[in-house]
Assembly symmetry: C2
Homo-oligomer: 412 residues x 2
């Protein structure tokens, strides 16, 4: 089965019944928008995946409690500039204050308000500014295209572009819409729950079913990207479902409708994940590694992740250099077992496709053609292990001077 | 017990009975010395540790066979410029040819000739040049200080300084000398056998005992450094012991003499390992992470390695920025379990020492003082987990623009 979807212009307000807002309250020094709010007019089932870092930011602790206890929410308040991580009991208290302020402003239960923060670790949230922003946003919420775009912009930190997608598809005879926005450009690594991502749908889905769909999709999208090998303290992915599309509620994590919903969600999460890797800090190119002919899914995943995570592969891509030995090297230390002397490697991009390694040794390829292929901004390394039929794809980016500049001076 | 050693000026020829040579045969394009040879006048017990990368270079396969089968050798031929990795059967045949050429030139069994290569992966060794170099070096071997230095220079690739140390100590009433040289600046990561390192001693040590001492020392020295997270295909550490010091042969991996020998070897391997991290590609500073108060050795090792491996910690050091949240973040995703709210962090260097985190949250420290400490070329992060009494130390370096420049253009 393959779901048929239509991509539409939009973000988190594309599904029925969602409004968004943004504000500039001065948490970021540059005066850029730094707060966002997302509100559903109807009660939502909510699913979430969170960082596996032992050091968890205060809003991550707040959200996981709500997602695991009630699985129900109506709003989310986001800020950039301060991560509210490593902030002790004061940080936890500030979460409660934010949810209470939003609950009052929106006249809803504070326990139906989710929170997400991103920015510098170890600083406390400026509560006065947060309160002002919450009041401002609650009074100017809108379901317009622009409102979604402003929210997507407000959660950016070192991101250079905002990341939003939306699509529609048919589910049980009804048109269902999925929308999403995400941020993330540094401190991004496969072993995570995910980075900040906010997904909305008007489909009616029971909360455990929603969680099952989200967990599967995050595993093959956000968890398959890496920018710098650092798993953040704040990774959060939330999926809201308010049921306004009118479809028969999905109450089981199986069956044709569940498959359709999950496939559509997979397309959305992969689009956002690829976009995050493409916009990795300082990146000039998206690096996609596809492993084919694997004997197990785990083997394929391990090798694909190792290739896109290698500093030496990443700098070779930055230099447009077909230094394929580094790819075999990264496969070799991945921990996965395979036969190096069977491996084929193909480089591909808009500029063409080139088999550079066959049976573990170099073909007589043209370095000039290889450099041309590697000079595009979306590069694919296709690895054939010739052992079985499993596959996996991971996404990373090149490692450039700009990554160093961004991170050596981040707090200054 | 603590061994008393005297550091002396010297390298692999410092112990009795070792000669070295070097040659420039044009494997590296720059015409720098690119071959080295080490020969013992007496038969040696030999121990070795090798890369754990599944993709192993041809000389690694050659050496591990000899080390594991006979544990005896008399010579080693080294080259830089070409790694002889991912070179298939032709690469293995070239190893045999090199050992045979050296065997003929030195009039010894080819199976007592070890080999080591470092450089570009995927290219074949230029056998004509290798043969010429072997002949040249066999005719000009010397036990002089300069001969050791030339050999240490010939194995360099992106290294900016040669790495040699030597020391003497008393063992069973005899003066024993240990010498060593190593290379390595990129493709260096803790999960390795080690980078290229060649250690010599005139102590008399049975081969299994020698291996036990080497394995222990490599675990706490070379395996505790990282430059870029990439485990090489060529990592090799060889230790030769020719017995010319006249000590009663060490035949057991236990007892006071074994402890003394191992402690002295540990000092030598740690000195070389620190030097490699300090000279990491593009590095301006050595980054040392010491974990104290751990409940297990494994916990301490895991956390120390995670901190020195983090791209975000490394770029913060490059920017002289006390962005301690990144240190706690890297501890948190290490996989080790600990209590973040108990952690103390201290930054130290020649410029002073500063407690920046106490009980998991920031102290009221001076950013100015922190920046001064981080502006030195040897930085220590001291982490106290306050759980037990185990400790571990790992060494890395900062991540700078030069790392990118070196690796984006390596083959060009």
């Amino acid at each position: 089965m393959s779901v048929s979807v239509q991509w539409i212009d939009g973000g988190v307000t594309a599904p029925k019944g969602y409004k968004a807002g943004a504000a500039s309250v001065g948490i970021k020094t540059e005066g850029r928008p730094d707060m966002a709010m997302l509100v559903s007019e109807a009660a939502c089932a909510v699913a979430g995946t969170f960082t596996r870092n032992l050091v968890k930011a205060a809003p991550v602790v707040w959200d996981s409690r709500i997602v695991h206890e009630s699985g129900a929410a109506k709003a989310c308040v986001m800020n950039s500039g301060v991560a509210n991580a490593c902030t002790g009991e004061e940080g936890a208290a500030l979460c409660r204050s934010c949810a209470q302020a939003a609950g009052e402003a929106l006249r809803i239960d504070p326990d139906s308000v989710l929170l997400a923060s991103t920015g510098v670790i170890g600083r406390q949230l400026p509560m006065d500014k947060m309160r002002r922003g919450i009041g401002e946003m609650a009074g100017s919420l809108s379901d317009s295209r622009e409102a979604a775009a402003h929210a997507a912009e407000a959660i950016m930190t070192t991101d250079t572009v905002k990341k939003e997608f939306a699509l529609t598809f048919e589910l049980g005879g009804k048109t269902v819409t999925l929308g999403g926005m995400s941020k993330g450009s540094g401190m991004i690594h496969p072993n995570m729950g995910t980075m900040l991502a906010f997904l909305t749908t008007d489909a009616a889905v029971e909360k455990d079913v929603l969680q099952a769909a989200l967990t599967k999709c995050v595993g093959e999208s956000f968890n398959m990207i890496s920018v710098d090998g650092d798993t953040s303290t704040n990774d959060t992915c939330l999926l809201f479902a308010n049921g306004l599309a009118g479809n028969a509620k999905l109450c089981e994590a199986a069956g044709a409708d569940f498959e359709t919903f999950t496939e559509a969600l997979m397309l959305l999460t992969k689009a956002l994940a690829r976009r995050m890797a493409w916009d990795g800090e300082g990146a000039h190119a998206l690096l996609e590694a596809t492993v084919e002919g694997a004997s197990s899914k785990e083997q394929a995943v391990t090798i694909a992740k190792s290739v896109i995570t290698s500093s030496l592969v990443k700098t070779a891509v930055a230099g447009h250099d077909a230094n394929w030995g580094r790819i075999l090297c990264a496969m070799g230390y991945s921990g996965a077992v395979f036969e190096p002397e069977k491996v084929d490697l193909t480089l591909a991009s808009r500029a063409g496709s080139l088999l550079i390694v066959s049976g573990g040794v170099a073909t007589d390829y043209s370095e000039e053609t290889a450099t041309k292929i590697l000079s595009e901004d979306e590069i694919t390394v296709r690895i054939d292990l010739k052992e079985g039929s499993e596959t996996a794809t991971a996404w990373g980016c090149d490692l450039t001077h700009e990554y160093i500049s961004i991170n050596a001076d981040y707090r200054s």
